[in-house]
Point group: C2
Chain length 485, copies 2
């Protein structure tokens, strides 16, 4: 048997780390806070990249690459931006054996270096919109790190766009939020809540930050992607003006948006179970594993049939054939379950006699026998069923864990539990009327550790006439509170 992992009911965080390490998605590195993404983890990231990159290109964006190192003075040009990022910077002071005249910071995000270039590239409305994305590594000096969820260095994409008008930039911001929502739901099978962040939670330098927020199985929220309307903040900081269609000069309007390797952490926590990783078919580097089962007498016939079937199925599916003779079938079943492959195909001597195979779903464990001639068609439909089931299951879980507490006492009980262990009661989402006062928001955070994840679209209308659950004052917004990663 494969080595056991911690059960979710014992410790959700140990379970998470066990999966990351045992499924060989990532490993700790000798550099504090930095992780190594191993081939099985990186293959997942590659599939995410491919899908996202296609969506970015379909919406008119091109990729480019900007420098890793940014003059320290650039960050200081936007006041909120430097205040937000200064505590997290890694600083290069020496290069080529000499002390640098001006220290360089490793990009924690690239607005400043990119807008210093947009200054060169944008003169007229003819140069707009400028729709650029970058796939890159960034470094943020984090004190407490967790594999994939929070690490000193991570991989991400960052879109940076420039527009003629406020409306166009706002439309772009929401368009990219929608791309993220579609990616999360259609590829990751992970339902997300969307909306705008409050002042205290927004990106340092943004006018408005929008986010997609998912619910993990331990009922904590996870911010899975953000899209920022930057107004003219960076255009003013870097003096990027353009000649309008009417001939006047105006500052350019901006957006930025990003998702990172954190999505791999989200994927794990949204779907996996006590047997290991569960990957939605559309993102699975391997969709099907074929395991021939034989003894000495039947070996040749079973292996030959397995190879023939594998050759055929590979024309349509990403398939691995596991013919390793050093491991037992039982060990292999557990191992491929750990790795999250959506469908296992078993082919043994009795299957061979009956001209059939056994299919096993990773998501439910259900088994079925299928005639060899029908297997490709059944795998095709099963992959779709699994993709859909994972989404439906996650959505049902989220709905069960979305609450509308009617009093501040109920809300505190939701997030703090009734006992002393707040790990036991992360509480899920609380959708409540809020008075809009940062002091109220701060009180909730202090007393429950829950924060406002988003103010959903249409929240102001919905809040009209309602009373803030926390303060009892008239509500201005409906707010989604949760404890989060």
């Amino acid at each position: 048997m494969a080595e056991q992992i911690t059960k979710r009911s014992t410790s959700y965080s140990d379970w998470y780390v066990d999966i990351v390490l045992r499924a060989q998605l990532a490993d700790y590195s000798p550099v504090k806070g930095s992780m190594v993404i191993r081939p099985r983890g990186y293959a997942l990231w590659e599939r995410m990249q491919q899908a996202l990159d296609r969506m970015f290109k379909e919406t008119g964006h091109s990729n480019a690459y900007f420098p890793l190192l940014i003059p320290e003075s650039f960050l200081k040009k936007e006041a909120e931006h430097v205040e937000g990022f200064a505590p997290e910077l890694a600083v290069v002071t020496h290069g080529g054996g000499q002390e640098l005249e001006e220290p360089l910071v490793i990009r924690p995000t690239s607005e400043t270096i990119i807008w210093s270039m947009y200054k060169k590239w944008i003169q007229s409305y003819r140069d707009l919109p400028l729709l650029i994305n970058q796939w890159a590594n960034v470094v943020r000096w984090e004190k407490r790190t967790r594999l994939f969820l929070r690490s000193t260095e991570f991989l991400w994409q960052e879109g940076h766009t420039a527009h003629e008008t406020e409306q166009e930039a706002r439309d772009e911001t929401l368009q990219m939020l929608d791309v993220y929502k579609r990616f999360a739901e259609e590829y990751m099978a992970m339902p997300v809540r969307t909306g705008v962040k409050t002042e205290s939670e927004k990106f340092a330098g943004a006018v408005d930050t929008y986010a997609i927020e998912a619910l993990m199985q331990d009922r904590r929220a996870l911010q899975a992607g953000t899209s920022h309307f930057l107004g003219q903040n960076f255009a003013k900081a870097f003096d990027v003006q353009y000649q309008t269609r009417e001939g006047s000069l105006e500052y350019v309007w901006a957006t930025s948006w990003g998702v990172s390797t954190r999505l791999i952490g989200a994927l794990i926590m949204a779907h996996s179970d006590d047997s290991g990783l569960v990957i939605p078919p559309r993102l699975a580097p391997t969709e099907v594993v074929l395991i021939p089962i034989f003894r000495n007498k039947t070996k040749e016939a079973v292996l030959e049939a397995a190879r023939t079937l594998a050759r055929e199925l590979r024309q349509e599916f990403r398939l691995e054939l596991d013919t390793d003779e050093n491991s037992s079938p039982g060990w292999k079943f557990a191992e491929w379950e750990m790795r999250g492959v959506p469908i296992r195909v078993e082919l043994g001597p009795r299957d061979l006699e009956n001209n059939q195979v056994t299919l096993v779903r990773r998501d439910t464990g259900e088994k079925e026998s299928v005639s060899i001639t029908a297997v490709a068609g059944r795998i095709r439909s099963l992959l779709e069923e699994i993709q859909k089931n994972l989404f439906d299951r996650a959505l049902a879980f989220r709905e069960e864990n979305t609450h509308r507490p009617e009093t501040w006492e109920d809300m505190k009980a939701l997030f703090n539990g009734t006992g002393s262990d707040d790990q036991a009661a992360p509480g899920g989402f609380a959708l409540v009327p809020w008075d809009g006062d940062p002091a109220t928001e701060a009180l909730v955070k202090e007393e429950t550790k829950a924060t406002i994840r988003v103010l959903p679209f249409g929240n102001e209308e919905e809040a009209r006439g309602k009373t803030c659950v926390i303060s009892g004052k008239p509500a201005r917004h409906m707010a989604v509170f949760a404890k989060s990663y």
Copy 2:
């Protein structure tokens, strides 16, 4: 008319920079020595990546990602490695507002951080071979930089493999050299010489370094990729031993190999001309540009026909349709030539009447009329012809510029010219018998600036009985000398 660029005959290096900037492949950044890769340049890199990545995967490699920052002490574990890279390091001394206990260097290459992980992952022969590649950015503090060719930060891939036996590692080293040669010749249409580097030119930490070397139009060589047999150097430095099939413990054998965004520089200098960039079809982000030509009276009919044709051709080709009405056809022709698109399709009112289009090749400028019904087929064959012609042309140029000087005086004249301007006579390749003495190699470098690019495969047999052209002593190798980038 589009702005002119410097002619190659006026200044090859100005011509090169003009193309990079005018074709919007890259731009200077505010950080000294770092460049920005613009969308048109990055699209080229993406196509290179796709082809290489497929070749790496076909030969059994997986991608992974290792940390950007490496403890300074790691580099010191391999004596030659640190000696080679120490002068080029960028050093992070502060993180999160505090001075670090141990400085971290930004990876100039990742052998050390990767082998520190291989130590954790490799215990037994069952863990071998380990075949990993990484797509990443690296930083080397260069004093003199040139766009794409030499920059402080660049993008590359680095393969790092671990093997049971010396033979297996040596086979891998040569296999990857062959992958690079095939990529250079089949995709970049750039013929390359292969062979092993001398001691003075090899990678710091390698036992043997192999390289592909191309000849640029100014008759300088360019090292376009390297594949290193690392012996057990890094396994010993990081104490990576494995249990053999026989049960004993042995150090692992290693290779590493890489190509970088430098290839974009090579591509430009191998094929482009005084009208701008020339891109081989297999790497062209846009294979075909369709330019409708019309006046007010014919506008509607021509545009409609162009749109119909574009829709059809896009099913098979990467095509751009240029309907911009602010630029004249002549300006557009020049602009798309500058950008290096292999085929231009012109569609004017007379073409429309005759139910034909005009095709123009970027490589030769030849024009032909083709009936609309035959255009897809003709484009298909023309793309192949252009790909082949670019290779043949570059190969003929290289052969014309490969010399076998018979005396040291002839060899000096080849590289120094007869006048005072050595820029005027970079000389091409000189293939000569060499005595194998580093002092002789150093003398050539001092007197001509030419270095040994490679010792070709089979060079020792070929040198037998010959006399070193430089020293007059018995030759031990045939060596390929050239001035280089």
